[in-house]
Symmetry: C2
Subunit: 292 residues, 2 copies
């Protein structure tokens, strides 16, 4: 961790709704960073049992309403469920409770927050944690270390809530960033959603074309390029729907770039330019990162 556990925790009690990869990792990270903080969890009974065995939560319930009030509520279910949860739970929470979510799209839940009594204490969030495999079984306390954790506050958001969440993310090892919700969704369409859909489409097309025997002749390039192809559709169905306009625009740009390459395979500028731009942006992407 970037800071010692002597730092005062920004929240004394934390309830995580949805103990999948991200929610489970938040629970584990909080327990590791601040052993004195009480973590509650809401999920199916089998997941709660797993999380409790792993020491991620102090107590769990299938029904959020059965849990005691908490200083921080983290909505970590799939994107559209988080929106529904916010609408349902938000109005009943104490005014002192800060609420955030971890969804990969932000406009939808920010819009929802404006329609209820919750808006001031809700600060939408998105920890960039890499999620090719879902479920508590893949959760780990260091998932956020060195990774961006975006918050998308609105003009009327409570600044103390933003500050506490930024401190929370930083002390869990992440690099907090404040980004407008519109810009977040457009950026993620390119940075996250487009690579995911591309990796899935690529793997589906290639497997269909070469079959099991052919796949035995694949090198490491294909293995890396399609790592995301194992991602669960349950997560991505909702992201695709929630950010359809942004993803559609990103797909259009990629399709156009592939069509340019296709028409320039035997000469011309497309191959040169694409590789040139790609190598330069790749170097930029890797600046200051390790290659893992």
């Amino acid at each position: 961790m970037a800071t010692s556990s002597a730092v005062e925790p920004p929240f004394r009690t934390v309830t995580v709704v949805g103990l999948g990869l991200i929610g489970g990792s938040i629970a584990l990270a909080v327990r590791e960073q601040w052993p004195s903080v009480t973590v509650f969890g809401a999920d199916k009974a089998s997941v709660l049992a797993h999380a409790q065995d792993a020491g991620a939560i102090y107590r769990g319930a299938e029904d959020f309403a059965a849990l005691p009030p908490a200083d921080l509520v983290v909505l970590a279910a799939p994107v559209l469920q988080n929106v529904a949860l916010l609408r349902e739970l938000g109005p009943g929470l104490p005014a002192s409770t800060v609420v955030t979510d971890v969804g990969s799209t932000k406009r939808d839940i920010v819009r929802a927050s404006h329609s209820g009594a919750i808006s001031a204490a809700f600060i939408a969030g998105h920890p960039i944690g890499g999620a090719e495999r879902g479920g508590f079984g893949f959760a780990r306390p260091d998932l956020f270390r060195g990774r961006p954790w975006i918050f998308t506050p609105e003009p009327d958001s409570r600044s103390d809530a933003v500050e506490r969440l930024v401190g929370f993310a930083r002390q869990l090892g992440a690099r907090p960033a404040i980004v407008d919700a519109e810009r977040h969704d457009r950026l993620m369409a390119f940075l996250s959603h487009l690579p995911q859909l591309t990796a899935s489409a690529l793997m589906a097309v290639i497997g269909g074309a070469v079959d099991s025997e052919g796949l035995k002749l694949a090198g490491r390039g294909l293995v890396d390029t399609t790592r995301l192809a194992a991602s669960p559709v349950d997560t991505w169905r909702e992201i695709c729907a929630a950010n359809a306009d942004g993803i559609g625009a990103a797909l259009d740009e990629l399709i156009a770039a592939l069509a340019r390459l296709r028409s320039g395979l035997e000469g011309g500028e497309a191959v040169e330019q694409t590789f040139d731009h790609a190598a330069r942006w790749r170097a930029e992407l890797m600046r200051g990162r390790d290659s893992g």
Copy 2:
């Protein structure tokens, strides 16, 4: 190495033409597996100096003709140069010399081999070595370990030459496979060339859309999916030209798959089907591999 150095080397002298990643790694692997084998190299003087310092070659020359005859000649220059080299050098080689190449496309060089006196002793080859960074600086003796090494003999190929090359590849740790040249090029269009062009197009499009500031918010998914985007255009310009028909067909399939996703973002079958097929083929791809 899979076998001990007590195994009789299939070739006593080996000349590698082009000491880049693949040629350099072959030279290093031969030296490690059979210290008694003499390795000659042909390349630019600066590369030869580097290779000699690293112990990869016994002696080098910029001009192939200045080197002594060898039992095996490995053409490891870019694809189209290998074809030119085979045309130029082939007819002057002793009948006992076996010739192979390491190019990523095979129909072109197999065709060229039929037009000269060399055809019987030339067996086209393709070690699948992962080549996102070119040059001798990235060469390593274990590059081929556990990886496929494809040979594409023709009906009139000398079977003793095929056997010796298969033994050579196996003893360098690779998994040799015999595939028809037509089928090789079609398979590689999907398994290798399509992922490369996709990774490059993806990185070029994303960098252009989000700029340096945006790239700081990228997660590991983008980093993995675009690892190939650092690949050198000098290698790929020639592969694109040599396998344009196969790559074009593969690009068409991917573009169609992306267009289907694009029209089904807000519902329908495309997202479900793509993720379902992708996850199943991904599992198939990873069967029996480590994830590295």
